[in-house]
Symmetry: C2
Subunit: 315 residues, 2 copies
């Protein structure tokens, strides 16, 4: 199998390096800052150790994974023979356009050029490029070695065959591609997250419940089923006759709720003070970094559980 | 500790019987259909065995749990000495009003009267009762022995002390109470679920992605973190400076998405055919019951994992 290039060795780039190397790919890691790619090695080694301890290295050893990741000093060296480029640069349109122009100029014609962006549409950074048909968004939830979903988003001019190859590539490296048919702000996941957060902020802003009640209602309630079957299968299994039966029973309830939800809470207003006060009571500002480490440990244990449950019960 | 009465021995009533008995309570189970309460025994025994196998019986034996659940033949016997009544009858306003009138007439003055209803507001069935101040909704996600969140919803006239006692009671029996300050259609969890489903149906209806992509985006994406920290803590840990930093970075993105989301997809229209077709391809109509059993096994394994992770890493 051919190599993968990662352009941008920050948090997302490093995480993708581990993800691809764990799947047996040769990874070339380049960053415009010459210190960044070599500097990623310590982080990568620590994560690889943790993944090995949870049997999440795909049967490979830590040494094998580390040996597959090569910091390189030029973009040309990164792209040489690459089947896939994962661009992980800054989230601003001008540098993104410049990077994609360079990638399109240097990469072999059949290399797929994928951006990790969460906020920019693929049409915005690929417009006008000779190779715009091979440019896409492949947006992960960080870190991709623990969260497998990756959104594949085409521009209007993306070649359908590029999308098919992209989907196959992501499956080969053990990720779960969500294949969009066309671009829209926020893609799939941030639109779903945004919808949930809108209601969460609204309930808190209007005083129905506190932020902790919302978090518990998801973490000790709805997200238990969602975390292995998703929202459509959840409702499909929540009425004796399946999803059509569910909609027949509950559409009126949800239509009524929707009618009450046509105003935005001001996330930057008083409700933010309420949420911040609750969060800082539980986790002080100077405890956030440590809590992020805790979150990743729990996420890793959850992934190990899901892998075992997939094997034991099936998906 | 005093006894708990369950009025209505259907799916939810049986599940609550196990939940309360596992916590060491004496449970009296009554149903207007004389066959229902005794008929629940087989189901309860099977579930207790499964819970024991996953160390989810709170340290009690199956025999202890079964011995704590008493089918009774009169509502008076059920309510005698009960600290808490969990009403699990039909989801229609007239029978609910009649049941609560009977409960209020028969129960000792300080007994809390809680309904499992998901669709009726507490004011609607407690209005006019002499003991309306002790009537609330305690809405679970089924089954409560696997999903700990329970919404506590007051009517405008509910005594604040009843809410405090209800919260304490639910914590004592190992559930996670979400305490609302006032009633609203859908309470917390179905409003959050509805918001997510609205966007999910809209994305499918408008052809951006298929139902399976939505389910994977949640099950292999967003819900992994949500399943142990919830949406507010998720964003609090997703920006270096916490939730205020996150809102500063992403409010514009979400405001834009919100502006694009002010129309409802017709859940009963063509999109339902799309969702149904996808669901029935994966799980045929006659496979739904078996898939529900599979879901509950996975849910049980997930709960066992969460218990272990809580002990190992903390919450």
């Amino acid at each position: 199998m051919s190599a993968v290039a990662i352009v941008g060795a920050g948090l997302i780039g490093r995480a993708f390096a581990i993800t691809f190397a764990r799947a047996g790919r040769t990874v070339r890691l380049w960053d415009p800052d010459p210190a960044a790619a070599p500097g990623a090695a310590g982080f990568i080694a620590t994560v690889a150790d943790d993944l090995a301890a949870n049997d999440l290295l795909g049967g490979r050893t830590v040494a094998e994974v580390l040996a597959a990741i090569h910091p390189v000093t030029t973009i040309e060296a990164a792209l040489d023979g690459a089947e896939w480029v994962q661009e992980c640069g800054p989230e601003r349109i001008e540098p993104k356009r410049e990077t994609f122009a360079a990638l399109d100029r240097i990469a072999a014609p059949d290399t797929i050029l994928a951006s990790s962006t969460s906020g920019l549409l693929p049409s915005a950074f690929s417009e006008g490029l000779p190779g715009r048909a091979r440019c896409i968004v492949a947006h992960p939830i960080n870190p991709p070695y623990l969260v497998p979903a990756v959104e594949l988003v085409p521009a209007p001019w993306t070649d359908p065959d590029v999308m098919r190859r992209a989907e196959a590539f992501l499956r080969e490296v053990g990720q779960v591609p969500l294949v969009m048919t066309r671009e829209i702000d926020g893609f799939i996941m941030n639109r779903l997250q945004g919808a949930l957060l809108e209601e969460a902020f609204r309930l808190v802003a209007e005083g129905y419940a506190g932020p902790e009640d919302i978090d518990r209602g998801i973490a000790d309630g709805l997200a238990l089923r969602w975390s292995f079957i998703g929202p459509f299968e959840t409702i499909d299994l929540n009425a004796p006759g399946g999803v059509a039966d569910y909609v027949a029973r509950y559409n009126d309830l949800y239509a009524g709720i929707f009618a009450q939800s046509q105003r935005r809470a001001d996330w930057t207003g008083a409700v933010l003070d309420t949420v911040t006060a609750q969060r800082r009571t539980v986790t002080p500002q100077d405890g956030l970094a440590e809590r992020q480490i805790w979150r990743d440990r729990r996420l890793m244990a959850l992934r190990a559980h899901k892998k075992l449950a997939d094997d034991t019960f099936g998906r």
